[in-house]
Amino acid sequence: MADFKVLTARQGQIDDAGNNDFVMACERHSLAGSISQRACVFCGSRVVLYPIADALHLIHGPIGCAAYTWDIRGSLSSGENLHRMSFCTDLQEKDVVFGGADKLYKSLVELIDYYKPKAAFVYSTCIVGLIGDDIEAVARRVEKEKSISVIPVYSEGFKGTKKDGYSAACAALGRLVGTGETKNIPEMSINILGDFNLAGETWIIRDYYKEMGINVAATITGDGKVDEIRACHGASLNVVQCSGSMSSLARMMQDKYGIPYIRVSYFGIEDMAQALYDVANHFNSREALEKAKGIVKRESDLIMPYLRACRRDLTGKKAAIYVGGAFKAFSLVRALKFLGMCTILAGCQTGNSQDYEQLKAICDPGTVIIDDANALELAKFVKEKDADLLIGGVKERPIAYKLGVAFCDHNHERKEPLAGFLGMKNFAREVYGSVMSPVWNFVPRRAGVIKRGQL
């Protein structure tokens, strides 16, 4: 650890927020041989489409791809629960030699007969890309025989990064959009794109919009329903959260149906409020705007006393952020600031150079800005900058704990909603609980660092 130096080839992906003459060399493949925290194309497609719980999700590939994405995160459904099952063609050596199309056909027929789903997604994996099974032909055949939409997802793992998987998922969704009846969808309707209903977050957001008098035509894909997605081109605005995952669907719908989109974030009071105002302003609706202001006031008043109390103890504490998408990083920097904390490292897996410029702009000079960080780099900066908290995902958690630093999962493993106003309170409580935990006093490096908090 002591003699760890950042590899030369990685130096173009690590920046300082105070540095003006640096362009992040991002959106490139991880260096071969690095302990990348990133995943693959398939993973990107799978996380995006998986919450559609009344569709079948059949993985055409070896068993691992299915096993690791079985109920991959807590996307909640108000209806069917098919997404909690894991379906796989479980390709064997003989299939690799002779082709797996027949197995795929049989599996699809078996599943459709059994479950009568609204639609079926078939995910292509690395091996299918190599052996060249014609999944399109199988899909057409089954579609004809069973009269349901069977949609191939071209998510061969090696074809790019997780971000390319988002695009593949959006392309698949694009085949559903426009196939439903829109006549019952009112004028002031939006689609919520890019929220996955972890711990019920989509419902919180949807209810705010509903309260503003805005109809939500479809939520994509959190608590997503096939029929709603088919008809979602009847909405007049796409509200897109999560910079990476749904942008290409929003662009496609703009091109094809002339539906504009706005980018929002639901994390933190400021961003959440802005997400409501932006929608009201889009519809030029004074009434909606007034209602939005009312919601913001009411909800903020509910949580402010608690946030203020947290701030008393958290002021001056230091956080490191390493998350999937850049938009989440922006929101987190702002939300942490609201709690009195400063960010000493901010990075993500899938940001582009504009994202990193924006990230630099909202961070203080001296903040490390990093693309596609590996474990050693994270550990180095967390220790060097003496962070009190790391925000990340599953693979970062034990690194933080080994370093004796607090941790907050802002990824798949969140157990409470972190979006919306209520989510901000949950976030504050989670950060406070971990940062102020007396257990850090047992860490040799940090003995005595935690004074008992007020909460």
Binding site: A32, A66, S107, G157, K402
Partner: protein, 459 residues
């Protein structure tokens, strides 16, 4: 109902696997490699494979799991992964400084036909492997076998690379513990020490996957079988191989290479399997069974007899990996319980042969391995006739909840509870822990679900 889509009616499935009771080879290879000192597991394939395996192992062991990837692109898929692997080797030795890189393949690199042996040789020729450092490899295509096969292949890979026979024996006994917890490997070492037998145990993930909090992050733990130990394993008196699926291939490779006699054992789970292990240890090492171990056995038997009334005829469904299932079911039968449903996704006829014998006195028992031997089938069996207890990994929790059956977590992965990596389930003491879990599960369920008037203080 989380699995409300699972029906009671069982239809023969031709092609499909639903809710698998297995995963793919590379994750096993990765775990095995972590049991060697200062070793970096390397995944030769797409980034996703490595990320998934690391996530799964991290969730199970609650430890940082370090592994690298060749980060395949579309170009590598077309032109081969040699360039990626060569630069990976160079980067890993420069950046992370392991003693060994343990490369495992994936379905992708296998199918495009990358020859890892040749690429490793090229890396050495080109000076990318520093003096005293090593590359080990195993072929682990995801479309053959299961995670257990991958584990076995990687352990065999280490034997093939390092084990050597010299003129002089080392007087030691090799132990290949199979895919068990760090706590179990630690327990096997303790038992051997109690018996005063000098051993070489490989792999050994204790002090790697159960490291203490130190306030620092270290790439490699102090534990893991060393290169010297692996070399010396060829001079040992015998190899105690625990588990037909995870361990025997390495034991056979060692026998073929260095003529080290194999003692083919089960993983010592429960009374009978531990008896066989202790017996074998005593015989091969030529030592008496120590009094301390005898007394541990005595305590186990005492607990069994004290509580036999709670075990009698209880119906149990068990799922997971074959090397665990065979001795576990044998233990359940020893206790008077009835393992009625057993599934493993890991294919192999040996499982059928052994299960047939273990369950010969339970005529209603159903067991299945390989294709379509999945959690979905087991759930359907349960729906047709309920069980009192479910034993297996975390994936069973849906069934447990839907059917209101107590679940004991055992096997891989356990991603929602702790303890497995700290408290052993092997040996007599481990069996006592299993008993405690069985009793807790059955009696907690009874105390929770029984009618008020049937509630009893004393059990």
């Amino acid at each position: 109902m989380l699995l409300r889509h699972t029906t009671k009616e069982i239809k023969e499935r031709e092609a499909l696997t639903i809710n698998p009771a297995k995963t793919c080879q590379p994750v096993g290879a990765m775990y095995a490699a972590l049991g060697f000192h200062s070793c970096m597991p390397h995944s030769h394939g797409s980034q996703g494979c490595c990320a998934y395996h690391r996530s799964m192992l991290t969730r199970h062991y609650k430890e940082p799991v370090m592994a690298t990837t060749s980060s395949f692109t579309e170009g590598s898929a077309v032109f081969g992964g040699q360039a990626n692997l060569l630069s990976a080797v160079e980067n890993i030795f420069t950046l992370y400084k392991p003693d060994i890189i343990a490369i495992h393949t994936t379905c992708l690199s296998e199918t495009i036909g990358d020859d890892v042996t040749q690429i490793s040789a090229k890396a050495t020729d080109e000076g990318k492997v520093p003096a005293g450092k090593h590359i080990v490899h195993a072929n682990t295509p995801s479309y053959i076998g299961s995670h257990v096969t991958g584990f076995a292949n990687m352990v065999k890979g280490f034997v093939n690379y390092f084990a050597a026979k010299t003129a002089k024996g080392n007087g030691k006994i090799n132990v290949i513990p199979g895919w068990v917890e760090p706590s179990d490997m630690r327990e096997v070492k303790r038992i051997c020490k109690e018996m005063k037998v000098e051993t070489i145990i490989f792999p050994d993930t204790s002090e790697v996957m159960d490291r203490p909090q130190t306030g620092t992050f270290e790439m490699y733990g102090p534990g893991g079988t060393t290169i010297d130990e692996m070399r010396s394993s060829g001079d040992s008196k015998a190899t105690l191989s625990m588990g037909h699926f995870a361990s025997l291939p390495a034991a056979e490779a060692l026998d073929a290479k260095c003529k080290v006699k194999i003692v083919d054992l089960d993983v010592p789970i429960g009374l009978s399997a531990t008896d066989r292990f202790i017996q074998a240890l005593s015989e091969t090492a030529g030592v008496e069974v120590s009094q301390s171990i005898e007394r541990e056995r005595g305590r186990l038997v005492d607990i069994i007899t004290d509580n036999e009334q709670y075990f009698y005829n209880k119906r149990v469904a068990v799922y997971g990996d074959p090397d665990n299932l065979i001795p576990f079911c044998e233990f359940l039968v020893d206790l008077g319980m009835r393992p009625v449903y057993v599934v493993t996704g890991t294919p192999g006829k040996y499982f059928d042969e052994r299960m047939g014998k273990v369950l010969k006195d339970i005529p209603e028992a159903k067991f299945k391995q390989g294709a379509q031997a999945d959690m979905f089938l087991m759930h359907q069996w349960i729906k047709n006739e309920k069980v009192d207890l479910l034993i297996g990994n975390t994936w069973g929790k849906y069934i447990a909840r839907d059917e209101n059956i107590p679940l004991i977590r055992f096997g891989f992965p356990i991603i929602d509870r702790v303890g497995h990596s700290y408290f052993p389930s092997l040996g007599y003491m481990g069996a006592i822990r299993i008993l405690e879990k069985i009793m807790d599960a059955l009696l907690d369920a009874k105390d929770r679900d029984c009618k008020e008037e049937n509630m009893e203080l004393v059990q």
